[in-house]
């Protein structure tokens, strides 16, 4: 089955929602292009910047959670090192396109060339991890992916000549900021552009999982043995889901590098993996819009809780700890009382086994 057939062969499950996503995403890209390529400028009130900032990060993480959901929500693969694919995409793009970094490799190639290479690099790493580990039991895959992420983190920190150590790779081009009229416009254009990309990715995912291909993935999650017994090569299906997720994360990493203008190990900690996992479970795995909704809630809560500092009677030191305690409690409570997430379907996930 070719990718084309998978995406366009049978849209019965997705209905019109994929088309709608393509349309909305396309409009976003158009608006972004307008903001970037014309002298058109927008002004936004300063107080909304922090929301634009976190919103941009949200749509980038949105690509991660969509890939993770394809792996876990649909195929049942427990990937606990998703951040490594994000990081590899970002570092590849940064090292290829950066000019005059303080430390590490900076080749100064055009970013348009670097971005696809970043995607390929993440996909290749996904294929390597997949080839070696997808035959392992679920929880072992979690450990292997976690260990892979830790290994790469250690390499990034220690090999300064290549990866720039803790400083990271600086001097990455920021095409949107360079082209747009002013920094307000660049911020908005970035949000709209990345938002459009994420919505289009949502459309593709909806197509992919609504097709017969997606049904095989669900079947693997439900019962791998039965799926294998009807003649499906479950390994190659799992492998594809894993590599697609990794490539999408690599793409997200590339976008991140080109938006932030620098990459450093601090951007790619286990915290990223934890955030997207919480978001996915909170929203409800195996439902694309639900996982994005869950991610929005957790990232929104983190942001809003920072505003709560002014109205709480505790010191700022204590407040920082209390915030993290609250995040932990939310995770515990959701799993306990809404195991399928807010919008999820318990039967689909089989969590009440």
């Amino acid at each position: 089955m070719s990718v084309r057939e998978r995406l366009f062969g049978d849209g019965e499950r997705s209905g019109g929602s994929a088309e709608r996503a393509f349309l909305v995403g396309g409009v976003c890209l158009l608006v972004a292009a307008l903001l970037v390529f014309t002298p058109l400028a927008v002004t936004v009130p300063g107080s909304s910047f922090v929301f634009i900032e976190v919103g941009t990060l949200f749509v980038i993480y949105g690509l991660l959670v969509l890939g993770l959901d394809l792996q876990y929500g649909y195929t049942g693969l427990v990937n606990f090192g998703h951040v490594v694919f994000f990081a590899v995409g970002a570092y590849t793009v940064a090292m290829l396109s950066a000019e005059g970094s303080f430390a590490g490799v900076a080749l100064g190639l055009p970013w348009l060339l670097a971005l696809p290479v970043g995607v390929v690099a993440a996909a290749v790493l996904g294929a390597i991890v997949g080839t070696t580990s997808l035959r392992l039991r679920d929880d072992f895959l979690a450990i292997v992916t976690l260990a892979t992420a830790e290994i790469f983190h250690t390499l990034f920190v220690n090999f300064r000549g290549v990866f720039g150590g803790n400083v990271g790779i600086l001097g990455v081009p920021q095409p949107i900021a360079d082209l747009a009229a002013d920094s307000d416009t660049a911020q908005i254009a970035t949000l709209v552009l990345f938002g459009g990309v994420t919505i289009i990715a949502l459309g593709f995912m909806t197509r992919l999982t609504g097709s017969p291909y997606g049904r095989v993935l669900r079947a693997i999650r439900a019962d791998e043995l039965v799926t294998r017994s009807v003649g499906k090569s479950t390994f190659s299906y799992k492998m594809q889901a894993f590599v697609y997720g990794a490539a999408l994360a690599g793409f997200a990493g590339g976008l991140f590098a080109l938006y932030n203008g620098a990459v450093a190990p601090g951007f790619f900690t286990i915290q990223v993996t934890v955030t997207i996992w919480i978001g996915m479970l909170l929203g409800g795995a195996s439902n694309h819009r639900a996982v994005l909704g869950g991610l929005a809630i957790i990232m929104g809560l983190r942001l809003l809780s920072r505003f709560a500092l002014e109205v709480t009677p505790v010191s700022a030191d204590a407040f920082a700890s209390i915030r993290l305690i609250a995040v932990g409690l939310i995770l515990v409570l959701v799993i306990r009382y809404r195991p399928a997430g807010i919008w999820g379907d318990e039967r689909e996930l089989g969590v009440d086994s």
Binding site: V78, T132, S133, R135, L136, R137, D138, D139, F140, A142, I143, V144, L146, A147, T148, E150, I151, T154, L155, V157, N158, V274, W277, I278, L281, D317, A318, S321, I322, L324, I325, V327, G328, L329, I330, L331, V332, I335, R336, P339, V351, D352, S353
Partner: protein, 304 residues
Amino acid sequence: MGLAQNVIFGLVTGSYIAIAAIGFTLIYGIVNMINFAYGEYLTMGAFIGILTVGVLPLPLPLAAVVAMVGGGLISLLLARLFFTPINQTGPVPMLLTSIGLGLVLRNGIRLTAGQSARYFDTEAITFRFDGLPPLSVGSVDLLGGFFVTSEQLIVMGCAVGVFLLVHTLLTRTDVGIAMRAMGDNENLARVRGIDTQRIRDSVWVLAGVLAALAGVLLGIQTNVSAGTGFSQILQILSAAILGGAGSPYGAIAGSYVIGLVLALSTAFLPAGMTGISSAIAFLILIGVLLVKPSGLAGQEVREA
């Protein structure tokens, strides 16, 4: 560079990890979950120890016992509150719950105990063995002089004591035999009339006791702060999985492999690469999982 000396360092590091990893792997085998909050169990044990020494004041060995009792009780309480109610949901929700619990505990400790590190007040005596003849192969000296400190001997001694006690518990007592039966096949165990909830509770207590002991020992060697246990969790987890998750004997073997790899890679990696010794431990973990997914100990030990 003396090989003998580095082997001793590796054995000491392995001993810390082993004491904790036994508890971790028992939880894995019998409650069927990866407990990511386990590092915080070490931290809590270390804090109980240092409070007992500082406030009551009790001598250190007694404080360690108090910490172990406290650690066992806290572990049972946390299990009752957080893990027992969702026992049936499968490994992934439990793993995620433990991540949430870890965040809560770590920051709760930070909130109550503050941010600065505390130290146990101990003196170490060093025993030297310098008379050994060198036995050189290239630049590596296979024997060479070495030393060992009283603290290191205590850590290794505690580890051996724990191994013997755990072995006796698992082979000679009803609870221990039931634990092993449950680790092999829970349904069968239930059919045979084993009270699985009681066994799970026992495992939680035992894991808490071991974690507290490891925490106190770690606190003596390093310091006691909110991050004491968390910095060790990945090594504990690697050791347990490496040894064949669920098998206490495998966890012991896995711990010493990790300890030796950490020590030897620091000693013998090319200059400029010594900082990556922890990554080497993970590489070995992945390697073992690929060659033998059941871990070092594999099935044989479990069936014994």
